[in-house]
Symmetry: C2
Subunit: 143 residues, 2 copies
């Protein structure tokens, strides 16, 4: 499938810019949204949980969480292990999640306009399979 990367990456800037514009109404960016999304869908989490989910380093998540604390969208709660910082959504965080979720879903429908349901399904299921192939390749390298 020569040219796949080009097709894939050609869409990236358009998509991320569009999402960031949408989210800027809530003083968020996609990278901040990822954290809100993760906590909403996995419950109170540690920074390591989040870093592992998105394959980024811990300082990256430290920064994102600090920003979200400033925005009062998340707060820290006490846990057993005093090394850990467990964060959860605030009430405001929940509200902003709902509002963004709706607008993002709307955008997802808009940009699928005219594309058959079956085609959408194929794309939806194939992208994670490609990602698995990358992981497999990484694994091979290490062994």
């Amino acid at each position: 499938m020569e040219g796949f990367f080009q097709r894939y990456l050609g869409l990236y800037r358009t998509l991320i810019t569009s999402l960031n514009e949408l989210l800027s109404a809530y003083e968020l960016s996609y990278s901040l949204w990822q954290v809100v999304f993760y906590i909403k869908n996995n419950g109170p989490s540690t920074l390591v949980d989040i870093a592992n989910q998105y394959n980024v380093e811990k300082p990256t998540i430290t920064r994102r969480v600090h920003r979200l604390e400033e925005l009062q969208l998340v707060r820290q709660i006490a846990g057993q292990d005093r090394r850990e910082k467990i964060i959860q959504l605030t009430e405001l965080g929940e509200e902003v999640y709902q509002a963004c979720r709706k607008r993002i879903t709307d955008l997802e429908f808009t940009i699928m306009d005219g594309i058959a349901k079956e085609e959408q399904e194929v794309v939806f299921h194939t992208l994670p399979r490609i990602q698995e192939n990358f992981k497999k390749k990484e694994g091979d390298k290490i062994e």
Copy 2:
């Protein structure tokens, strides 16, 4: 198609990192590769041509081209319009293009492992259609 953006963007860092690693063997990154690729496939081009192709601002391309000049992969040639800077590949640039093209194509095949040809085709054709939908949306906004 709720969750599409997540699926799409989840792959991004994996993919771009993998490509940048591959290209680092030639002191390139994907953003530099785009310029080499464009010139190879469109012939000698101006900076504006390239900026338009990738929807980035001119200074971005100025920087990329300067870097490629340092690497001696491109050179400037004279044109009619003396405002323009027309750049073309050097012999070294051609060689590096061929080498990278091969390695990128190999990677493209690797990460499609186990994915049926028909599914690959659907993804391949659907991504640009999604991009068109974004453009259409942008257009609507302006009017």
